[in-house]
């Protein structure tokens, strides 16, 4: 079992997610970028589990928890984005600049 290919794929997905989160201005695209990062994490866990094969299958269990919590978080995020869109009629992250130091 060659694990490194999966790790490379995971790191590419994770980096793509970080890039998207930092560069894209649309709030919904930012949420998608977060999903990419978490997909990378999940691939990591499953790839490692397929090598380690510990008795509790911790990697797979962890993946199920990550999936569940990611779904809940995106629900929260979409709620917040909808709220902002309703108040300000914009989904652009750059236009949220009421507070600065």
């Amino acid at each position: 079992m060659i694990v490194s290919q999966f790790l490379v794929l995971a790191s590419l997905l994770f980096s793509l997610g970080v890039y998207g989160l930092l560069v894209r201005r649309n709030a919904v695209t930012v949420l998608l970028a977060v999903e990419l990062m978490l997909a990378g994490v999940n691939i990591n866990f499953i790839a490692f589990e397929s090598v380690i094969r510990d008795s509790l299958a911790s990697g797979q269990i962890f993946t199920i928890f990550v999936l569940t919590i990611a779904a809940a978080e995106v629900g929260i995020g979409l709620g917040i984005v909808l709220l902002i869109f309703r108040n300000r009629a914009t989904g652009n992250v750059d236009e949220l600049d009421l507070m600065k130091w």
Binding site: V18, L38, V51, S58, V66, E73, N87, L98, M99
Partner: protein
């Protein structure tokens, strides 16, 4: 599987309270909605009873459950107690604040209690999965609570900023955890510690440690991962800000304590320097920016970043000198965290009362408060001087144990950090004392004459919140062994390694 229901009682009571509050909120008519808040507060009080019986009842040592992934020991009990007490005070602060808002109140208590449940679970977690689930349970509801004032653009903005940086930090944390699991073959802290000695020189392992630390550095808003904190603190409802700066921050520190002292004590030279940088940067930047803030909540946001830096100092000291002072540094962090929790809660309770009185969050609007509301002015001065570390308020003891731990490390680098901390304590004194000066020495602003005759709108529950924080701050300042007790009790976790 054998579950110890006595040990799980605090979590069960809080969980049941959440369900009761949720169903009461559905079924009660509008005029009886206040019952929801009362039930929530009573539920938290009930949950502290098993914490006390577990702590002072028959001594059976740590209660280990679920294959060692969930442990109720003295460290867990100290933080469960702090989280429940802090949650109780925050709920008391919320009652009048939420009622005066035009927003619906039922979900507020449900979300707050879910967050408290998450922090109580975190204190007992001894593996990566439980730690992660607990952490998400703490922060998830807080994204929503930060955006609680739905029509207020500032509140919306604070929620989105908090959310984006919150999920970014979670993803970074998880990426680090996936490598920890892959390299050590286990998610349990004990197994990670056993395997870490052989991996000390492994680049991927060092990267994994740093990723998990960065994830938690976001949660405790350590510089340079603090960008979300001031905006979120300013935009969120003030009781939520108090909760963010105390319980949510403490939950982040619980995660840091568990990971660094329980999972990575063999590789201190990896995380020690990182902690040194985080501590020095948080103290310095937090204090310098706090100096020039006009808004009281924003000032408290930067001050809590700086206080977080002080709490990080013992971590850097623990890594020095072959881990000689690991237990002392551990207890210094715990003591500082406990005292900080109560004095910061008190400061925020004062801010809620004072801004309701003057109708403004600007520090200058508090001018002359000592003359027309002497009680409020005195309470505010007590909490801010305590944050500055002036005896006889408890703040001095927090700084004392911190410096004691740091100086006993006897290492050049750590002593340099102590010097930075001393300089920062002086800077911090300037802006904390300025508030006391504005309230007691400045004349009432010309336009604010109507404030003098305005009745003080401090509600009974807010008054109780202030009184509880005040009692702890004064008693722990005069009798510091009370605060030291928390550190001594939890120390066993770090000394048994």
């Amino acid at each position: 599987m054998n579950l110890d229901y006595h040990a799980l009682a605090p979590e069960i009571i809080v969980a049941v309270t959440i369900l009761v509050v949720l169903s009461l909120d559905l079924s009660l008519p509008t005029r009886l909605k206040w019952v929801v808040a009362v039930v929530g507060v009573i539920g938290l009080m009930a949950a502290t009873v098993p914490v006390l019986t577990l702590a002072f009842g028959d001594d059976v040592g740590p209660r280990v459950m679920l294959g060692g992934t969930y442990v109720v020991d003295d460290f867990a009990l100290v933080f469960k107690g702090v989280f429940l007490a802090a949650g109780y005070i925050v709920l008391l602060m919320s009652v009048s604040y939420i009622e005066s808002d035009r927003y619906y109140m039922g979900e507020y208590y449900v979300l707050m209690l879910v967050s408290i449940l998450g922090s109580v679970i975190m204190a007992s977690s001894r593996d990566l999965i439980t730690l992660f689930v607990g952490l998400e349970l703490v922060t998830g509801p807080l994204f929503l609570l930060a955006g609680w004032r739905k029509g207020d653009s500032k509140s919306n903005e604070s929620a989105l900023k908090f959310f984006i940086l919150g999920v970014l930090s979670t993803a970074i944390l998880l990426y680090g955890m996936s490598f920890l699991y892959g390299l050590t073959g286990s998610v349990k802290f004990d197994d990670i510690r056993a395997a870490s000695g052989a991996l000390a020189d492994n680049g991927a392992f060092q990267m994994a440690i740093l990723f998990t630390l960065i994830g938690f550095a976001f949660k405790v808003s350590a510089v340079p991962f603090h960008a979300w904190a001031p905006d979120t603190y300013e935009g969120a409802p003030t009781p939520v800000t108090a909760y963010l700066s105390v319980s949510s921050k403490a939950a982040g520190f619980v995660g840091l304590l568990l990971l660094t002292y329980l999972a990575f004590p063999q590789v201190t030279d990896v995380w020690g320097p990182a902690m040194w940088i985080l501590a020095a940067a948080s103290m310095t930047l937090g204090n310098l920016v706090a100096l020039r803030q006009h808004n009281i909540v924003r000032m408290l946001a930067y001050s809590s970043i700086a206080q977080g830096g002080f709490i990080l100092v013992p971590f850097a000291a623990a890594a020095a000198n072959n881990n000689a002072i690991l237990p002392d540094a551990f207890s210094a962090t715990v003591v500082y965290m406990v005292i900080y929790a109560f004095m910061n809660l008190g400061a925020f309770a004062f801010v809620i009362a004072a801004t309701a009185k003057t109708g403004s969050g600007e520090i200058n609007s508090f001018a002359g408060m000592g003359s027309y509301a002497p009680g409020l002015g005195l309470v505010g001065a007590v909490f801010f001087l305590s944050l500055a570390g002036v005896p006889p308020m408890a703040g001095w003891f927090a700084k004392f144990v911190m410096f004691q731990a740091v100086l006993s490390a006897q290492s050049g680098w750590v002593t340099a950090l102590a010097v930075i901390a001393v300089l920062n304590a002086v800077i911090a004194f300037v802006y904390y004392a300025r508030i006391a000066k504005v309230m007691w020495m400045d004349p009432v602003a010309p336009g604010a004459a109507s404030l003098v005759s305005r009745p003080a709108p401090v509600s009974a529950s807010l008054g109780l919140a202030i009184a509880l924080s005040l009692i702890f701050v004064m008693v722990a300042g005069v009798l510091p062994q009370i605060a030291a007790f928390f550190g001594e009790a939890s120390k066993a976790l770090a000394s048994g390694l």
